[in-house]
Symmetry: C2
Subunit: 406 residues, 2 copies
């Protein structure tokens, strides 16, 4: 008899028929004497629809009120599933974020979970209820409704699983697990039976849209076993767990790419202490998150400085950059939206050398020029021309021996 937390994403509850499918999966576990807590997202498209509604009011909707509006999406699906389960004669109850005591900070639109009381969840489980919790939402210390950002229902699920010390947190989604690469890009990508929290963190932040990053951080911190699997098949998916010796054997676990960033370069600025701060401070103050930064010294006391920003902030960042550029006497400020980032990730890198060299030569063999490089303990990322992103993924996937036998 286990305690299972099951989270279903927007496509899994997109209509009444699919909610029936969710119910049938849920009651199967319940019938096997397991305790079941279900976390739901809003129906696919609903959150975007609500944002559009808010934008009919104003271009910059107040964040507190937007959260009140958005929270209705998960409230709807939670009520519908609990209603359906009850109509099937299963004891069930829906709980909203505040009712499940999902306590967050007051960062509306992107709140972080502080702690989860879940007392009512526990009480209802004791009474053998299937507890349905609205994902994505919580409440701050004042009782205001907050939301946890895109993909926040994943974090709701993992945090609730942690609070309840659940045996497993199953994340049902429209893919059937975590792959060595995006199967749409790389035909010979393989599903990974297991992946470590750290690898998942790197891959999540690099564009593998399987799990919200914070949910993985939570899972790692509280050691929650997360099972990523498809809501449309019975197959086992991928377990996200602590790294072990077996995993270390594999040098690279996954190859990812994204096209979310743009690049801004200051040409020939004075090579003086404090110059980078002069550039980065106004960018940071505008709330724009800079990812990579590199500086190339020139001759004559001049240097080039290049950094990447999210594409959505590119125009704003360029405007700021041009103003700063004039102030500090840059020769020119140029931007480039046509960049991509390709990365290889693996806990095995900690104990294997030569990974970077192998990566660079694989790209070089395809005549792909590397513009910027960053590394972490378990990841190497290269910025390349956007048009080569798919080719780079395929080449690296082959080079690191990840191709499935077909």
């Amino acid at each position: 008899m286990a305690l299972i937390v099951k989270k279903f994403g927007g496509t899994s509850v997109a209509n009444i028929e699919r909610i029936r499918n969710v119910a049938s999966r849920v009651v199967r576990d319940y019938d096997q004497e397991h305790d079941v807590v279900v976390i739901l997202s809003a129906m696919a498209g609903v959150t975007d629809g609500l944002i559009q509604l808010a934008h009919q009011i104003t271009d910059t909707p107040d964040k507190r009120e937007l959260d009140v509006l958005l929270a209705t999406g998960e409230q709807t699906t939670a009520a519908l599933l609990a209603m359906l389960l009850k109509s099937m004669h299963y004891p069930s109850v829906s709980l909203l974020g505040f009712q499940a005591e999902v306590h967050t900070d007051a960062a509306f639109g992107n709140a972080r979970i502080h702690n989860i009381g879940a007392n009512r969840v526990r009480d209802f489980l004791k009474q053998r209820h299937i507890v349905v919790v609205a994902g994505f939402q919580g409440c701050d210390a004042e009782g205001n409704i907050t939301t946890l950002g895109r993909g926040g229902s994943d974090t709701s699920a993992v945090a609730i699983a942690a609070a309840l010390k659940a045996d497993v947190c199953e994340i049902f989604t429209d893919v059937d697990g975590v792959y060595t690469a995006d199967p749409h890009i790389c035909k010979r990508a393989q599903k990974l039976p297991r992946i470590s929290y750290d690898e998942m963190l790197e891959m999540a932040s690099l564009g593998a849209k399987v799990l919200q990053i914070r949910s993985v951080e939570f899972a790692k911190k509280f050691n929650v076993a997360v099972h990523v699997r498809s809501s449309f098949s019975e197959e086992e998916g991928t377990m996200v767990v602590n790294a072990d010796a077996d995993m270390e054997k594999m040098v690279v676990t996954g190859v990812t790419s994204n096209k979310n960033d743009a690049r801004i370069t200051f040409k020939q600025i004075p090579d003086q202490p404090g110059i980078a701060a002069k550039i980065m401070t106004p960018i940071g103050e505008a709330g724009i998150i800079v990812d990579m930064i590199i500086q190339n010294p020139h001759s004559g006391g001049k240097t080039d400085l290049t950094f990447t920003v999210p594409k959505v902030n590119y125009r704003e960042a360029m405007k700021i950059a041009k103003t700063v550029g004039r102030k500090i006497g840059a020769k020119e400020v140029i931007g480039d939206e046509n960049i991509g980032k390709v990365s290889v990730t693996g806990v095995g890198m900690r104990s294997h050398s030569g990974v970077a060299a192998k990566m660079f030569s694989a790209l070089s063999r395809e005549n792909i020029n590397i513009m910027m490089i960053t590394t972490s303990e378990i990841r190497i990322s290269c910025v390349i021309e956007e048009k080569y992103a798919e080719l780079a993924v395929q080449a690296l996937h082959t080079a690191f021996g990840l191709d499935r036998d077909s």
Copy 2:
């Protein structure tokens, strides 16, 4: 500087354009230094749409979960209005039922308000915020979401006005006040500048769909001045207040009709003590509310018994009645869905005689047969053939001198 509670119904917030209209009315009061609390219904049609969604799940949706679902309607409009006010640079905040501490019993779908804390409402008013409260919803002692039944936002508004000791509770609706008769039926109906709580109670229960009955009960109990007016015009509407000497002068204040009931007659049942109970008990147990009951003794120890039930319960009531009829040896059980009820109401009846006689002769002049009669201290109602309902209203309106000079 007054404290004004303003409630806007579903047609007043039916789309973004109309919500803008609401905002402009609200800020006008705020700009005149008044404290303003706004109570909103869901957009017109939304509640019905949500009920239909629930019915796609099951014919008999669980009431607790239905309330969770329905509460999203008012949550949406409250968030949108607060968002709009903020975008217009007015300090504003939305509060849901539980946040405004609208404490109710646990009668899901038709909960009654026990008390209203409204501490956060008061705090925000002190900070000169326009407070927008989601109508129709509250929470029970366990923190479950409850709803107050059709028209419940009226009751939310009056109850909050009572809790805050507001100077006035304005109910904005799609009619511009309370009329001596439905202007669609009676062209010469006049708008009443004032009406007493008791008259409004009688008229509300008789089909004048202006205010939810419970809201009037609340207003009477806590002596809240209610101003019923149009959200689409600037004209003064109707004040609902305590009866005074001036009102007593008018014998009849309003003529109303409805076609919501059906009639069931047991022919020739034994005229014995307890026979009515035998009939009414199973009807009551089915949750069907009986309005009028009359008994006509026959010769030979037999009697006829007739009662009315809401049309929506007619089929079910007839089924029960036929079963009971066989058991107690009724000659036959007949039903009639084609009935209407016409009523005259006025606090003046307390001090004037001859009102009933005047009513009966007015109907008789039109050859309208009276099937059943009930009276209260300030109302006389007659059941007539449905097809005469409009004619009866017109005839009574004229007979009691209510016709507007035109």
